[in-house]
């Protein structure tokens, strides 16, 4: 469990801003920090990593103080069990993929752990390559494997997928989910991609001008609708197909594509990529057991 209570005055282009964050994150939880740039999301990650010092407060990880301004405790980044991935991969250009992943590992464990991570992250074929021979998506996969090599308690991800195209982003989101399930690091992701927030995290903190304005599950936080329907899902429009006076809208819900009939008026507010709430009356769905 991570208990973070920190504040720091930041000097921004629009004048001073007080970043205040107070929250508890459970072991193995995947949370996102969402908000416009300049809201303080990256600074918060840096404070947890020990790269930026809060003005005051405490950061307690599994009962151990990493930072406590009152007791003058401030562990150096090296002594914090942290893995980090940023938007710009920051791989060592003169080292191979395998060497990059194994860099921080003790020699005797290196072979086994690197071997496993190469396999899990699907990088075996690329083990001997240098970063400049990799695509953007491959480099981020290496960065992610490297961040997980020391089995960190906390994984900090600062918009790691934002430089990638949509298809690669979706693929790496799946990968990230898989790796998270396997290694279960407590994960904090900075993102301003709403789809990413929905796909990856169970809980989101919305930051604006240094303050948490809303928090909760992505649905609680982003669904403005107070609709009565009990049969409803969040999804993303992936395809819209006209059919006479109506349209057939394909919506990605979890791993499944569902189809919804929409009228011309409904379509006016929709486009591919848009997050949507789909709702039906609980009276409509047929329910039947599956063959086992």
């Amino acid at each position: 469990m991570i208990q973070v209570h920190v504040s720091k005055r930041l000097h921004t282009a629009e004048g001073p801003m007080d970043l205040v964050f107070s929250g508890t994150i459970e072991q193995g939880e995947f949370i996102t920090l969402f908000g416009p740039s300049g809201a303080g999301k990256t600074t918060l990650l840096r404070m947890i990593a020990g790269l930026t010092t809060p003005d005051s407060g405490t950061i307690i990880v599994d009962g151990q103080p990493w930072f406590d301004s009152g007791r003058r405790i401030n562990l150096s980044p090296r002594r914090r069990s942290i893995g980090m991935v940023f938007q710009d991969y920051a791989l060592f250009p003169n080292l191979t993929v395998a060497e990059n992943i194994g860099l921080a590992l003790p020699r005797e464990k290196r072979g086994v752990i690197v071997g496993e991570l190469l396999e899990v992250a699907g990088l075996q074929e690329l083990a001997g390559r240098k970063p400049d021979k990799l695509s953007g998506g491959q480099r981020q996969r290496v960065a992610l494997a490297r961040a997980l090599a020391l089995k960190p308690t906390i994984l900090l991800l600062d918009e790691p997928l934002s430089a990638l195209d949509l298809q690669m982003r979706l693929k790496l989101q799946d990968e990230l989910l898989r790796l998270h399930q396997r290694y279960q690091p407590t994960t904090l992701l900075v993102s301003h991609d709403l789809s990413e927030v929905f796909r990856l995290s169970r809980r989101v903190f919305v930051l604006d001008r240094g303050e948490v304005t809303r928090s909760g599950s992505p649905t609680e936080v982003f669904s403005q609708s107070k609709i009565s329907n009990k049969f409803r899902f969040n999804g993303e429009v992936v395809h819209i197909k006209p059919s006479g006076v109506v349209y057939i809208v394909h919506v990605l819900v979890g791993q499944d594509i569902v189809q919804v009939i929409a009228s011309e008026r409904e379509i006016a507010t929709l486009k591919v990529g848009k997050r949507v709430l789909i709702a039906s009356k609980a009276f409509n769905p047929l329910i039947m057991p599956l063959d086992e």
């Binding site: 609708s225 009565s228 006479g244 006076v245 109506v246 008026r265 009356k281 609980a282 009276f283």
Partner: protein, 138 residues
């Protein structure tokens, strides 16, 4: 939620609750009352209270159209209206209706529209089952 599907503002006039179900009567105008059967109770839903302003939502494809309807019918949501527009293309037809200044759209098969010889200006009734009606509050 925009005003994209059939969406009519109204005021909750009465709520009858049984277990987890509520049958809600909503007054749109004094002679235009709709009923919604929902899986929700006033106990758990802050806006589900008599006198609260809400929106009534229902899918175009759940709206039936009748002319000279006689005999008994279980539906209580049946309203006289005037057809103001018909758009037919392929298998489906979109019928726009008006009642007391409120517009309702029905999507039915073109076959039915032709069989009933529906045209702009016709006086008809539109019907929707209470269990197809959703409510959204503020």
């Amino acid at each position: 939620m925009g005003s994209d599907m059939n969406s009519i503002p109204g005021t909750i006039a009465a709520i009858d609750t049984d277990g987890n179900l509520s049958l809600v009567d909503i007054e749109v105008t004094s002679d235009f009352r709709m009923s919604a059967l929902i899986v929700e109770t006033p106990e758990h839903c802050p806006w589900l209270k008599t006198g609260h302003k809400i929106k009534i939502l229902f899918k175009e494809t759940e709206v039936s159209i009748a002319r000279n309807l006689s005999g008994q019918i279980s539906l209580r949501n049946r309203f006289a209206a005037t057809i103001t527009d018909i758009r037919s293309e392929g298998m489906l037809a979109e019928i726009t209706l008006e009642r007391a200044g409120h517009q309702v759209v029905s999507i039915i098969t073109s076959r039915s529209a032709q069989r009933m010889e529906l045209k702009t200006g016709d006086q008809v009734e539109w019907l929707v089952k209470a269990n197809e009606v959703s409510l959204t509050g503020n």
